[in-house]
C-alpha cells in the first residue's frame, strides 16, 4: 500500500496550495455578491447573493472600455518588450563581446529606482512626446519595468540552449536573425510564454503611471478605474463594487493562463530535443 499513501499526501499538498492561493479570491467573490451592511459580517458561503454590484460596475463607468484599454496596453507592452528582448537576449546570451557584463548590469540598474522617483521625469517625457492621455504613452512608460526583466530572463534561458544547434545552423549559412527565429524561438516556448505572461500581468496591474499619464475615463486602465470607484460620498468605500470589478478583471487572466498552459508544458518536448 505504498503508492496510495504518497499519492494521498501529494493531493493533500495540492489541496493546501490551492486553498491558500484561491481562498482570498473566493472571499472576494463572496464579497462581490453582498451589498450594504452585509459586508460587515463574515460569511463563508454565499447567502442572499445578488449581482447588483456587477451591473453597477458597468453602469457607472465605461468599464468595458477600461478593460479594452488594459488589454490593448498589456498586449502591446508584451509584444514590444518580447520583440526587443529576444533579439537583445540573443546578443547578450550567445555572443561574446566587450562590455557585455557592464551592459547587463546597466539594464538591471534601471529597475533599481523606486517608481515614484522616476514619475515626474517620466511625466515630462510623456508630455514632451505628446503622448499624454494616450495608451501609447502607457506602453512606452511600461518598458521601464518590463524590458530589464524580460531581457534578463530570456538571456538566462537563451544562454543555456545547446550550442550544437547554433553551430549546425551557422554551418548551413544561417544569419543570426534566422537562428533566432527558426532555431531558438521554437525551443524558447516555455520561457517566452512565461516571461510574456509575467510582463502581461505587470502591465495589466500597473497603477501609478496609468493614473498619472491618463486623464479621461475613456483612456483609463482597469486598476485605475477600480481605484477610482467610490461610494456615494467621500469616505464611503463601495466594497462590493470594487470586489466585483476585481473579479471581472481577474477572470480574463485565468482564461489566458488556461489557454497558454499547453505552451508552458511544451518545454517537455523541447527538453527531449535537447537531450
Amino acid at each position: 500500500m505504498r503508492i496510495p499513501w504518497s499519492k494521498i499526501a501529494f493531493y493533500v499538498v495540492v489541496a493546501v496550495i490551492v486553498l491558500y492561493t484561491v481562498f482570498p479570491f473566493y472571499y472576494a467573490i463572496l464579497s462581490s455578491l453582498k451589498s450594504g451592511s452585509a459586508l460587515f459580517n463574515v460569511d463563508y458561503f454565499p447567502f442572499n447573493a445578488s449581482i447588483d454590484n456587477y451591473i453597477s460596475v458597468f453602469r457607472e463607468q465605461p468599464f468595458g472600455r477600461n478593460i479594452l484599454n488594459s488589454v490593448v496596453v498589456a498586449v502591446l507592452t508584451v509584444v514590444a518588450s518580447l520583440f526587443l528582448a529576444v533579439t537583445a537576449a540573443y546578443a547578450l546570451g550567445r555572443i561574446r563581446f566587450r562590455g557585455r557584463t557592464p551592459l547587463l548590469f546597466t539594464i538591471l540598474g534601471v529597475s533599481m529606482f523606486p517608481q515614484v522617483a522616476v514619475l515626474s521625469g517620466m511625466f515630462e517625457l510623456i508630455r514632451g512626446l505628446g503622448l499624454y492621455n494616450s495608451l501609447l504613452g502607457l506602453v512606452l512608460s511600461y518598458m521601464i519595468f518590463t524590458l530589464p526583466f524580460t531581457v534578463w530572463v530570456l538571456t538566462t534561458f537563451m544562454r543555456d540552449l545547446p550550442v550544437e544547434l547554433e553551430e549546425a545552423a551557422i554551418v548551413d549559412g544561417a544569419t543570426p536573425w534566422v537562428i533566432i527565429t527558426k532555431v531558438f524561438m521554437p525551443l524558447m516556448g516555455p520561457a517566452l510564454v512565461t516571461t510574456g505572461l509575467l510582463a502581461f500581468i505587470a502591465a495589466w496591474n500597473e497603477f501609478l503611471f496609468a493614473l498619472t499619464f491618463t486623464l479621461s475615463n475613456e483612456m483609463r486602465t482597469v486598476p485605475v478605474a477600480i481605484a477610482l470607484i467610490t461610494g456615494a460620498s467621500q469616505h464611503e468605500l463601495p466594497w462590493g463594487n470594487i470586489m466585483a470589478a476585481s473579479v471581472i478583471v481577474t477572470v480574463p487572466l485565468i482564461v489566458l493562463v488556461l489557454i497558454f498552459q499547453r505552451r508552458i508544458v511544451s518545454g517537455l518536448t523541447a527538453g527531449a530535443v535537447k537531450g
Binding site: F10, Y11, V14, I17, V18, T21, P24, F25, V42, A88, Y90, L92, R96, R100, L103, F105, G109, M112, F113, P114, Q115, V116, A117, V118, S120, G121, I144, L147, V153, T156, F157, R159, P162, V163, E164, E167, I170, V171, P176, W177, P190, A191, T194, L198, N205, F207, L208, V222, I226, I242, M243, A245, T250, L253, V257, I264, G267, A270, G271, G275
Partner: protein, 319 residues
C-alpha cells in the same frame, strides 16, 4: 555548472562557433559582434529614452533644493540633502524595515515557489486548473489585493480573526495591521501570497526546460528523489532561480503600494520607497526625496553586486 551542451557533442564541423571566446578574431566573430550590437540597439534606444532622462533627472535633483511646486528655480546645495538623510533615524528605520521585509519575504517566496513549482511539474489530473489557480494572486491588481487583505485583517469584522477564533487558535481578536509587533508580519504574509506565483512560474519554466535524460538515468539508478532534487535539479535550475530571486528582491526592496495601502505612512512598516515618496510627494521636497531615491538605488545596487558575486552567478554565459 554543467549544462546539457557541455556534456554533449563531439567537436563538430562548426568549430568556429564554439571558439567565439578565443582571442583570434575571425570574420565570423566580427560579423557576430556586429549583429549583436545591431540586435541590442533598439532595446537600448528605448531603454535610454524611457529610463535615461527620468533617472538622470532624479540624481540631479538630489543635489538641489527643488520643491514639487517649483521645479524651475532651485539652487545646487551639494551634499546637504544626503547629510540630512543619513542623520535621520526615520530613514535608517525604513532601511532596516526594507531589508528585513525583503529577506523574509523573498526567502519564504523562494521556498514556497519551489515547492509549488515541483508539484506543478509532476503529472497529475487537473494540473492545468491548478496552474491557473496558483496564478490568481498575482493576477489581482496590487491595489485591490492590498485593500482586500486589509479588510480580511480587520480586527472586528475581518475574516482572519473570525477563522482563527472559530478554530480556537485565538481567544480574542488581534489588531493585525495596527499592532506594531504584528504589522510587519501581516504585510509579509500578503506579499508572500501575492508574489509566490511569480517565483513559481519562473522556476517552473526552468524545470520544464531541463533535459529529461538525467532524471531517467537517476530513476534507473534508484536514487532517492530528495537526493535527485539537491544533486540534479537544483544545480540545473540555479541560473533561472537566481534571476528570479534578483528580480523579486529588487521589487521587494522597492516595495511601495502594498504597504502604502495596508498601513499607509506608519513608521512600523515604513520602507525606503514609502519614505522617498513621502518626502517627494507629501512634503513636496523633490530635492530631498530624490536624494533618498538615489541612496535607495545605491543600496540596492550594492546589494545586487554582493548577491551576484556571492552567488557566483555567471553573466558571461559560461562559454
Amino acid at each position: 555548472m554543467t549544462t546539457a551542451s557541455e556534456r554533449l557533442g563531439p567537436p563538430g564541423p562548426g568549430r568556429a562557433a564554439a571558439q567565439l571566446g578565443k582571442p583570434e578574431v575571425s570574420d565570423l566573430t566580427r560579423a557576430r559582434v556586429r549583429s549583436a550590437w545591431l540586435f541590442l540597439t533598439p532595446m537600448l534606444l528605448i531603454l535610454a529614452l524611457v529610463a535615461g532622462w527620468p533617472l538622470l533627472r532624479t540624481i540631479w535633483f538630489g543635489f538641489t533644493d527643488a520643491t514639487l511646486d517649483n521645479l524651475e528655480s532651485y539652487e545646487l546645495i551639494g551634499l546637504e540633502n544626503y547629510i540630512f538623510l543619513v542623520q535621520d533615524p526615520t530613514w535608517w528605520r525604513a532601511v532596516w524595515n526594507t531589508v528585513w521585509f525583503t529577506l523574509v519575504s523573498v526567502s519564504l517566496e523562494t521556498i514556497l515557489g519551489m515547492a509549488i513549482a515541483l508539484t506543478l511539474n509532476a503529472h497529475f489530473r487537473g494540473r492545468g486548473l491548478m496552474r491557473a489557480a496558483v496564478l490568481i494572486p498575482w493576477a489581482i491588481p496590487t491595489i485591490v489585493s492590498a485593500k482586500m487583505w486589509g479588510w480580511m485583517y480587520h480586527d472586528q469584522f475581518g475574516l482572519i480573526n473570525d477563522l482563527l477564533m472559530r478554530i480556537g487558535i485565538l481567544s480574542e481578536p488581534l489588531a493585525w495591521t495596527a499592532d506594531p509587533d504584528l504589522a510587519m508580519w501581516a504585510v509579509i504574509m500578503v506579499d508572500v501570497w501575492k508574489t509566490t506565483p511569480f517565483m513559481t512560474l519562473l522556476i517552473l519554466a526552468g524545470l520544464q526546460m531541463l533535459p529529461q535524460d538525467c532524471y531517467e538515468s537517476a530513476k534507473v539508478d534508484g536514487v532517492h528523489p530528495v537526493k535527485v532534487f539537491f544533486k540534479v535539479t537544483l544545480p540545473l535550475i540555479r541560473p533561472a532561480l537566481m534571476v528570479a530571486v534578483i528580480f523579486r528582491a529588487l521589487d521587494s526592496l522597492r516595495i511601495f503600494d502594498l504597504i502604502y495601502v495596508l498601513t499607509s505612512n506608519s513608521e512600523d512598516t515604513m520602507t525606503m520607497s514609502i519614505y522617498a515618496r513621502q518626502q517627494l510627494v507629501d512634503f513636496q521636497d523633490v530635492g530631498f526625496g530624490s536624494a533618498a531615491s538615489t541612496l535607495l538605488f545605491l543600496i540596492i545596487a550594492t546589494a545586487t553586486v554582493i548577491y551576484v558575486t556571492a552567488g557566483r552567478l555567471r553573466l558571461d554565459g559560461g562559454r
